[in-house]
């Protein structure tokens, strides 16, 4: 009987490097899915990524496409600047919740509203990873972070922002879906959403955003698999998975 390869490292995943992510951090899973998508759609060499400021700042070390570094939160503006000049090339941003929903709120709302023909991968891990666990706009009520030592209090810090719902209330964007990277059962949906977000761009459909619920085992203070359970039990109830906008 012949042996068939069921899974191997995607070609777009740069060989020989060890990611700097903490063990079990789902950033890696999302990266891998992007690589697989680039391979499957055969678009690696016409794609440029925009690296955010956040744990994924060094992602160009792992994904083998052109990359531009953007200031914190400004990836959608950088992508706009690029895409308007090179409409025949593909561009994606990859942004954390601090990057996209806090400092970068203005840029994402307006890029979505102009329906820039770009792909946004939005990694919502309910915390600031890179800077060591401060509150993010998506931090859940009661969740303890280094700047909400008693848990997030809506009186002082407001309610967690549901970004997909917020952006879906705009008239312009093409596709917005929330998926999860936590559980094996979620991974198919994650992959499908990423693929679709790139396909939309190839078909000039306009702004596509995939919100990926993600873990931060280190700053949540949990083992990776426990973090995945926490995500399922705490994040998904507040951030329901699903398609919020689809102009297909």
């Amino acid at each position: 009987m012949a042996e068939k390869i069921v899974y191997q490292r995607p070609k777009s995943w740069i060989e020989g490097v060890h990611t700097h992510y903490c063990p079990g951090c789902t950033h890696g899973i999302i990266h891998r899915m992007i690589c697989e998508t680039l391979d499957e759609l055969d678009i690696r060499d016409i794609t440029t990524g925009i690296a955010p400021v956040g744990c994924a700042a060094l992602m160009y070390g792992y994904i083998d496409t052109d990359f531009i570094e953007a200031p914190h939160g400004r990836a959608p503006a950088v992508a706009t600047g690029f895409k308007r000049i090179r409409p025949d090339r593909l561009i994606f941003t990859y942004q954390g919740d601090g990057d996209l929903a806090s400092i970068g709120m203005g840029e994402i709302v307006h890029a979505a509203n102009r329906s820039e023909n770009i792909t946004v991968i939005f990694v919502n891990n309910a915390i600031y990873g890179m800077t060591g666990g401060q509150m993010a706009p998506t931090t859940l009520l009661g969740q303890k972070t280094t700047t909400t030592p008693d848990g997030r209090d809506p009186q002082r810090a407001g309610y967690p922002i549901r970004v997909s719902e917020l952006l879906a209330s705009l008239a312009s964007p093409c596709y917005i879906e929330r998926v999860s990277a936590a559980k094996p059962a979620h991974l198919h949906g994650l992959k499908k959403a990423i693929r679709k977000a790139f396909r939309n761009q190839m078909e000039n459909k306009g702004f596509s955003l995939v919100e990926v619920l993600s873990t931060c085992p280190t700053n949540w203070g949990m083992r990776p698999t426990v973090a995945c359970d926490w995500l399922v039990n705490n994040m998904i109830p507040y951030y329901p998975l699903g398609v919020f906008k689809d102009f297909e």
């Binding site: 700097h20 903490c22 063990p23």
Partner: protein, 165 residues
């Protein structure tokens, strides 16, 4: 990092000048996060440690990176359960410590630091044995009293290794 802070607290307690300076990176785990501690009887100028009397390496990357910064005649102490060392220098004294294993035996996996502290205090004159014990009580005892006993035990084990060098 904690190890360095304990030494720093001890030195201050003994009335010495001390600085503790971390070198931080984006790698939250498994990287070469480290710190430099300077203890002196006069005010300290540079808190950067270019060459050190004692280097303690908890893992392989740190060991590889900081081996070179041990002064001639200085000590290189490392956790032999987490890193392997093939000697490249003969002008330094190398002390492998199977710290993870000892910590496991004691039943406090996080005591690796304290074991290595024991070694450091035993081989150097940074701070006295008494001060070290008091600092452990003060700094570790107050936060997690349930671990105080195992921490003291870890210190003893480390000290034994250090004295036996």
């Amino acid at each position: 990092m904690v190890l360095g802070q304990l030494v720093a607290y001890g030195a201050m307690k003994e009335g010495k000048f001390v600085t503790w300076l971390p070198s931080y990176g984006p790698e939250m785990r498994g990287g070469t996060a480290n710190c430099g501690v300077t203890v002196s009887s006069r005010p300290i100028g540079s808190p950067f440690v270019a060459s050190a009397d004692v280097v303690v390496a908890l893992n392989q990357p740190s060991l590889d990176k900081y081996e070179a910064s041990v002064k001639t005649g200085g000590f290189l102490i490392y956790n032999s359960d987490m890193a392997k060392y093939t000697p490249t220098r003969d002008d330094i004294r190398v002390i492998p410590v199977n710290a993870s294993q000892i910590a496991g035996n004691i039943g406090n996996e996080k005591a690796v630091n304290v074991i290595l502290l024991g070694v450091v205090i035993a081989i150097s004159d940074l701070i006295s044995d008494d001060t070290a014990r008091e600092i452990i009580k003060q700094k570790l005892g107050s936060r997690k009293p349930e671990f105080l006993e195992s921490n003291m035990k870890a210190y003893e084990e480390g000290r034994k290794i250090g004295l036996s060098v």
